[in-house]
Amino acid sequence: MADVGANMSSIKIRTKRLNGKTQIRTLITHPMENGRNRDEQNNFIPAHHIQELWVEHNKIKIISCNMAGSISKNPYFDFLLKAGEIGDTVTISWIDNLGQSDTKNHIIK
């Protein structure tokens, strides 16, 4: 089992302010196994994928995403906030089908 987020956060967040709006880009390290792939011994690799991901802006939840194993390995998402100021906090969290989870804060610069 991958030791997700043991030393380094599995979540990378980048923000960019664009004409008063804020672009949020995130890249998450996660195998996103859908349970249909096989290993070298031809056994099925058990499903291991993120189920829920959510984004908070200053502790207010603004985006919630439910997903299947058909989202690519190491998922990438980007979103566009209508506002966002320097110093605001963006928090991204996820939980997977094995109950593992991670969360990360990011300050808009």
């Binding site: 959510w54 603004i62 989202i71 939980i95």
Partner: protein
């Protein structure tokens, strides 16, 4: 012993994160996140998935206020297929991404608050050539748009 300890830890983590979800949801949030519902993600037939998700609601097809970009006409690698969805509809609450010919068509559902522009990007896995279907819910109505993607090497294993 180890097994039960591991189970205990996993369960505690799961419950903890779920608890956080609920609390932030009630105290602050303009959106109440829909829980991950297994049923809709394990259906293997596209029409069944649509029937299950929208319960007979009318889906308005090919509305030009939904724009699908970044999605290639031909995907060399079905394991990473980028998609960007944007829409001029106001009051969008939900965006669904489905891949018609995948073993399980529903890929992702996004719920967004009014603080967020209707603009979302993601990367999908596609098992084979298929139509990608985007459904947007705005003001209680559902709008659907299709785009066909030819896949050279499938990305869903099996």
């Amino acid at each position: 012993m180890i097994k039960s300890r591991r189970q205990f830890i996993t369960k505690t983590l799961a419950l903890g994160a779920y608890g956080i979800t609920i609390t932030t949801g009630i105290l602050h949030s303009p959106i109440v996140a829909a829980k991950w519902l297994k049923q809709r993600f394990i259906l293997s037939d596209y029409d069944e998935t649509i029937a299950h998700l929208f319960n007979g609601e009318t889906l308005i097809d090919n509305h030009n206020k939904i724009k699908i970009s970044r999605l290639p006409n031909v995907a060399e690698n079905g394991a990473i297929v980028p998609i960007k969805i944007s829409s001029q509809f106001k009051n969008i609450t939900k965006i669904y991404i489905l891949v018609k010919n995948n073993p399980h068509p529903l890929s992702a559902e996004f719920e967004i608050s009014p603080a967020v522009e209707a603009e979302v990007s993601a990367r999908l896995k596609m098992a084979k050539t298929s139509e990608v279907v985007v459904i947007v819910e705005a003001d209680g109505k559902f709008y659907r748009r299709f785009k066909k993607v030819k896949v050279s090497i499938g990305g869903c294993g099996g």
